[in-house]
Symmetry: C2
Subunit: 136 residues, 2 copies
């Protein structure tokens, strides 16, 4: 029986992709894979992809329901995702976020071990940097 052993695409919605590009590309330093201004912004992150969509556009895709095209999708509100970091990298990330005027909203020392910091992207999505041991 087949089993699913990897997530290939993680998605967030960012109506202002110009602001998102500064945040994800410059502040977080992700490697840009593809960019369609006003529509989407794709980053490669290790074995996976982070896809940022303008939901006003992605919702309008394939309204005719063509079965050989990707269907539409789109969310509003504050999404969430986490990147894995090494424990020793945490201080450097904290410094880098401060330098870029990104407020750190929370810092959590998990009772079972591991640490996370949380901050917001320009769309209000909650972004987390976490050490892997938060999921033992």
């Amino acid at each position: 029986m087949c089993s699913l052993s990897a997530i290939l695409e993680t998605v967030l919605y960012c109506p202002d992709l110009r602001a998102a590009r500064h945040f994800y590309g410059t502040v977080l330093g992700l490697s840009e894979y593809s960019h369609q201004p006003g529509e989407y912004l794709f980053y490669r992150v290790g074995q996976g992809m982070l896809l940022l969509f303008n939901p006003d556009r992605s919702r309008q895709k394939n309204l005719a329901g063509a079965t050989d095209q990707p269907p539409g999708h789109g969310c509003s509100g504050s999404g969430h995702m986490a990147f894995a970091i090494e424990p020793k990298e945490l201080p450097e990330w904290q410094t880098r976020l401060v330098q870029h005027q990104v407020p750190i909203e929370s810092q959590v020392d998990w009772p079972a071990g591991g640490q996370s910091i949380y901050f917001r992207d320009p769309a209000g999505n909650s972004i987390e940097l976490a050490t892997r041991d938060i999921w033992p």
Copy 2:
């Protein structure tokens, strides 16, 4: 300089977690890590985690803004994510989805190579199974 090389958590929102549990656990066969009925449902997927939240609850978390607790978040609408599969597994997945009465909304043969199938979870999120070569 630090760089982000892995996504640790991918998030979708599912108001009906009971329906989501059947879909992600039974239909997709994911390995459940943690479950708080009415609040969240966590699955381990390879090196990452898929976190499903009831947005009506996750939005209400930490409204006081405690800086040592995770902040609230929550989306409405149709989110999106993709799992990686091997090309040879595609027919088996198609059969399995049909057996579980999950309609396949689209099947895309990408011009540059690779294939994807798309279907909806009970919350209307667009779920994709894709071969890795769609991102060369």
